[in-house]
Symmetry: D2
Subunit: 142 residues, 4 copies
């Protein structure tokens, strides 16, 4: 698990003064970029150098408390499942006051970006994801 | 059902040349704003005038084909469920070539924005959503 | 001159309830994409097909009135200067109530995207820009 | 002067693979939020608590080198002028390789957000800006 810390920025609230759902999904992607920083060259190296990407095929979100300008956010990020070409990431977002704001589960598929078709997961990516793997059992009681 | 048409803009692709998931979720919100345009004063009137909003509490997405710069998008939007204070919207996004790019189901809750607490759904909002209600049965065969 | 019409969206205001400057600059780029739609294949055809782009080298903006959620925006867009490889575009943004919200002058340079180096302006782009050319004199009295 | 460090994120490039101008302007605002963090309560405290904001009235930008995904950015930020109600901030953005990518000069005006009208600059904000004031002479030789 990694914890990605982030403040809500001035321009990231909506006309209701809250952070709307698409922006929260973007926070999850930022956390994912942080997780992939553990691969040599990071996510930029994968995307631009090796032309391997990880587009989402599924995303399930629960939003439980509002986020406002000035809130700090702590995004706990771990891997819940690793398949042959796909994996599931979970993001649990807490505000600075400890309140759970959102939980997202994100299925990504290893993709050859030149063909835009699924491909095998590179072994270094698999090793990285295994490092952050926490099964449902392990996650119980959180 | 309404159909919201949208082109992918220049700045809406990611470093892989595709539209990433948070941007697609944002397209759904644009379609929702179009749907709520059927209420007197539109969504701006609800948010700023009547101080009633509809934050997401749940969002489930399936992404089935990539979107690129220059693609046109047709977002079919309908209401799949209406509760006392909540409702489910479904967004089905097709590219100009007819390929299904994404399907999103979005549960929103009527919210008093001054208290940031759930409240009853205004009757004109309920009538609007009923106009666009399509039950699972009605949606069969799509 | 073209006039690009646009509503301020729900998520485009900031924590002060106004549209902050970077979002307004983005509106200018949307208007520019509309202007370039007059070239065969549009801006997507230039960028992805012909690999010719038009990055900004200079931008000067004056912001004269606030934009809020629900405002409609009319972006008058014309060409103020055409050089060998560069051109100046002007965007004048009015709210639906006629109030001038912003004026932007934007210098772009024709760029070979594979080399990321300036190049000659394609003749069809030049012809398009000439169609929308309004010299300072012509613009007097606006 | 403060130096705000920032990586270009996955979703912040455009269809040409570069960071387009509006996103760069957004980086400047992030740097400004960092600068205002020196006031008690930070920018959130000013905006939401004291209802004092600093909308832009003028912005002049020069873009001198492209930014791509994976680039690190160092935004040197200082105050170039302080008036009664307004101030000029300068942002000089360098890439990790030392190349100057952009220089922005930004005039902001102290604004009572309830009236959306200019007002006197709070004394603590003035003191903060004075701390970061570098006159044109002082900036010579940079």
């Amino acid at each position: 698990m990694i914890v990605f810390e982030r403040a809500v920025r001035f321009d990231e609230v909506d006309a209701a003064g809250l952070v709307f759902f698409a922006t929260i999904v973007g926070y999850a992607h930022e956390a994912m970029e942080q997780l992939f920083a553990g691969v040599d060259g990071g996510y930029p190296g994968l995307i631009l150098g090796r032309r391997v990407g990880f587009p989402a095929v599924r995303l399930d979100c629960e939003f439980s408390a509002p986020l406002r300008y000035g809130d700090r956010l702590f995004v706990e990020t771990w891997v819940a499942r690793i398949g042959g070409r796909s994996a599931d990431l979970v993001y649990r977002m807490r505000r600075g006051d400890g309140v759970l704001a959102a939980t997202l589960r994100h299925t990504l598929v290893t993709t050859d970006l030149d063909r835009v078709a699924s491909c095998d997961m590179p072994s270094d990516v698999r090793r990285l994801l295994e490092t952050h793997l926490e099964t449902a059992e392990g996650a119980t009681g959180r």
